[in-house]
Subunit: 338 residues, 4 copies
Amino acid sequence: MIIVIKPHTSRAQIDEVIAEVQKLGYDPRPIFGTELTVIAAIGDETTHHRLESLNAMPQVEKVMAVQKRFKLVSRESHPGNSIIDVDGVKIGGGNFVLMAGPCSVESEEQLLSTAHAVKAAGATILRGGAFKPRTSPYEFQGLGSEGLRLLSLAKKETGLKIITEVLSERHVEEVCTHADILQIGARNAQNFQLLIECAKSGKPILLKRGLSQKIDEWLLGAEYILAHGNANVMFCERGIRTFETYTRNTLDLAAVAAVKKESHLPVIVDPSQGCGRADLVRAMCKGAVAMGADGLLIEVHPHPAEALSDGQQQVDFADFASLVKELQPFLQAVRQTV
Amino acid sequence: MIIVIKPHTSRAQIDEVIAEVQKLGYDPRPIFGTELTVIAAIGDETTHHRLESLNAMPQVEKVMAVQKRFKLVSRESHPGNSIIDVDGVKIGGGNFVLMAGPCSVESEEQLLSTAHAVKAAGATILRGGAFKPRTSPYEFQGLGSEGLRLLSLAKKETGLKIITEVLSERHVEEVCTHADILQIGARNAQNFQLLIECAKSGKPILLKRGLSQKIDEWLLGAEYILAHGNANVMFCERGIRTFETYTRNTLDLAAVAAVKKESHLPVIVDPSQGCGRADLVRAMCKGAVAMGADGLLIEVHPHPAEALSDGQQQVDFADFASLVKELQPFLQAVRQTV
Amino acid sequence: MIIVIKPHTSRAQIDEVIAEVQKLGYDPRPIFGTELTVIAAIGDETTHHRLESLNAMPQVEKVMAVQKRFKLVSRESHPGNSIIDVDGVKIGGGNFVLMAGPCSVESEEQLLSTAHAVKAAGATILRGGAFKPRTSPYEFQGLGSEGLRLLSLAKKETGLKIITEVLSERHVEEVCTHADILQIGARNAQNFQLLIECAKSGKPILLKRGLSQKIDEWLLGAEYILAHGNANVMFCERGIRTFETYTRNTLDLAAVAAVKKESHLPVIVDPSQGCGRADLVRAMCKGAVAMGADGLLIEVHPHPAEALSDGQQQVDFADFASLVKELQPFLQAVRQTV
Amino acid sequence: MIIVIKPHTSRAQIDEVIAEVQKLGYDPRPIFGTELTVIAAIGDETTHHRLESLNAMPQVEKVMAVQKRFKLVSRESHPGNSIIDVDGVKIGGGNFVLMAGPCSVESEEQLLSTAHAVKAAGATILRGGAFKPRTSPYEFQGLGSEGLRLLSLAKKETGLKIITEVLSERHVEEVCTHADILQIGARNAQNFQLLIECAKSGKPILLKRGLSQKIDEWLLGAEYILAHGNANVMFCERGIRTFETYTRNTLDLAAVAAVKKESHLPVIVDPSQGCGRADLVRAMCKGAVAMGADGLLIEVHPHPAEALSDGQQQVDFADFASLVKELQPFLQAVRQTV
């Protein structure tokens, strides 16, 4: 930590800060500059008391952290690319994956027809929400356990692996009996109790970025999971909330490159939530692939205009098939340049 | 709902949209303007399928909601100001309340000394975190059950009511045996399972605004609680996340006036989280009072520089006492102008 | 500046950075910690080459500035509160000012009736836009020179001082012959050529905050004006752009306290632009006064529903008069607590 | 426009709004729904008084625009892709362009060496700032006229076309004698006087997106230029300001697809400003190409660590050459899928 002292502070007041730094377990090294004094506090910031509290002293101008706060998710702890093995389907380290399916599971017919369609187009993992976090209590909340049962049925019929969202610590066990990947949604990105409970299940986890979560905080969210013994984590960029309203969210594709630089874990992109409009999904997929994403999570529905949730961002079967075909030259371009 | 049709759309394609509107249970009323055609879809948007999914039709330019989505929290359902009775301490409808105490419960001595100090200065409700949601798994996570026990002890010693945060559905029952108000934090503002579980307890609930939650969404969060049978809800504005970094968050004081305009429920302001710096807390308190807040939630610590969490935004005992004194003329000004 | 070196960097690579720091005119002081090496670069950051460019070296993790970049606007250069004297009307240092008038000057009748009304209610400065920066080229662009003439007429009739916006370097001279205060709008907050040209006129300047301008950058905008010889600067907080859409902008009232802490110059608040809705203006005024604002800039129109620009945020004469009356207890509360 | 009336409004009050709509030149069509009344106001919103001012009436809940505000830049006015011809170098409609060069022109040697390097790697347009808009008055402000002279020299030596930023209406004429494209920077994106002055020159214009400019507002900025007779406009996405601090800005690649959907004009991407870190530039370039950008604007410097401005985001000659090579498969993929 670097503690910056206000100008015109007396030596006695500087010594107060130095004493406090020592008391909190760090080795203080003052540097007296031409304009300012700073104190470098030597010690491991992740295990000690963090020194931001020193801002409470009137002579302190600011406290700046120098060390990264995440460890297990970092490239330093694991220089290569982690590959997540979802019951035979590999993700990361050059293995690109297509996850697709409806926003919500609505009925057997809707789910099975979609499962067959996305499989035919090249997807290997089926998505579908059984428990839905909806902004209003009056909106469709998902089929719940019946939705999970339908996902298992679709898996049996098609062989696709299943990813579905978990909303509650109490659902983890039940969801685990049906799903191959647990999805933690943007609204629960810092619901740490849920993260810990999912971690304990040992299942692969897809961790969506919170609506206004900084990259550093997102990495620390995953750090909770790894620190609780589960290293099968994938990040999922799904757009952040900004002032722009043309798109539902602002898909932060730089985050794909940033997270892959900082971490060894795979990064998936969700263009459907990311832009919230079906007419931009295709372009966003190409951008995500070119940026180096390890996979895509795409919402597909047999008849989007009648979907019970988020129809405006779901593509239909024909669109999905043609989109997958159009992605091929970009996937090939990535392979040529790695 | 208003559905705007793209320019140069044929009558047949317009009829397709009209048919779809009917199919989804609304009464369509097309209006043919000079430049554009719009279709007004008559029906109750909160109980029907919402029509945003029509955006998936290529001839639809956009779909605009005209109706508000919240009902039970709205002024229309309850024109007067709701007063929340916390075991004798009234909040709202002209009853101003001071909630104060440490960010985290750290020890018996820390909590009891703070409880006595804030009571002496005029607070009637003691805050203190027992379960702490921390960005990093390596930061202090709170004393948990032991923290709850200390809160009960402080209540017994001082008569102050207790507010503390609930992080998990599984903790609700235990927290209810110690707390008079359940606090739902910003990170869980859309953890709907937690909201529902807290609702069922019947306890008064303080619902913090999410980091990037729109006012409309925040009202809908409270709507979940009321729809599950608990009308003892207070909103708490605690700052939103913006590009500004001088303050930790941007305290949106307009939200106080906005929520009081839309809803009958009380609004509390948390200036400590709101600006994240002790040196601005006093000014923010005055602003909040002047804007019409029904109460303040202020972090107070015996020695902020050594606090185990968020020391930089906690004020000490002397500061708190002088702050409360300085608020009096503003509280009086509010009473004069209501 | 503090340069943080990446972990596991060799001594030779650290020495490369040290050499570069020296080459750029700073005195390097390396500190070898347990986990990381940092180099403190001693020297005045405001006059030297700034060292952010060192981020281009692969062994550099990050570069952190320790010094504030503004000087002339800072409290350190001028510990007391500056008072701006607008031809006899004092602003700052305990002198509170009401600036009011229409968004745009529309006609002689509109302007004169408004001038008389706001004067009667207590305003001493008349606002009114002659040159209007409008998002669309098809919107009303202001009356231009004719608008300036009407402002002079209103001044002559009422004795009110005049504030009006300057959009172009080429207009500065003409505007100066009619206005007592030059307003620089949010869209031009970093139009530095305009800032410099206005500075040279010697006139008092009201500098609005840019739509997404950090406080530090806003202070540096004013620093341009002071560095070009004009110390008659007032800041004007008018809301920042965030994700929230209930209000047009998010009025950042913490910025009032923050700027007054960092700078000796007065801070005015514009609640009309700040929330963009007439129904919240009154509450925002109270909040601004309580936070310590040195004045308010309020849009007033004889018939807001027919205003040629921003009618939705303008109050009518009766509203304005009652608003000013309701502010009195808050102004008194401020005087009691200073 | 659609005017939504508040619930429980009397017929007389509704008629007031209807009368006002008529007075303002629109044809009102009331629709009485089950819960709400809305009034569709028929008329061309771009040429009439806009009706947002009706929000000032207490019985009005909200006013919603249905029509797009831009005309000349829209696909409807020009369905094909516009191609901008910069003295023989074509941009748009399948013609991809590389613009590269230093952030600031610093010296003859720096500029000429960079010009030769970027030309050798495949660039056809040389960028370089002569007038620099800097946040602080104490930072390097560019070489001004001498910088322009050096750009002309570089053009003569290499045949590269020149793009450089214009900061002031007063510089337009001088800049035009040296530059082939006028760049309008993010800070001047809504400096409408500058936009108009540049429009009049007839030169091709690259219009950067403002730091917090919505896509709709950006299109309207360009509409100013087209409405003043100059259709040679290119958009340049350069990142928007958000809460994220890992990158300097958040490059909004969805905006590339969005603007190309709404407008016939080319879209260029500036990854250097967009992420503000040299280590992410390469990935951002690939993403931009895949999204369909018509060109890239990349900062290149002989020795970034010693650059006088923004060294942290500039790549060196070797990096640039290898980056351009790596882009080829992505450019080919785009050609395959168009």
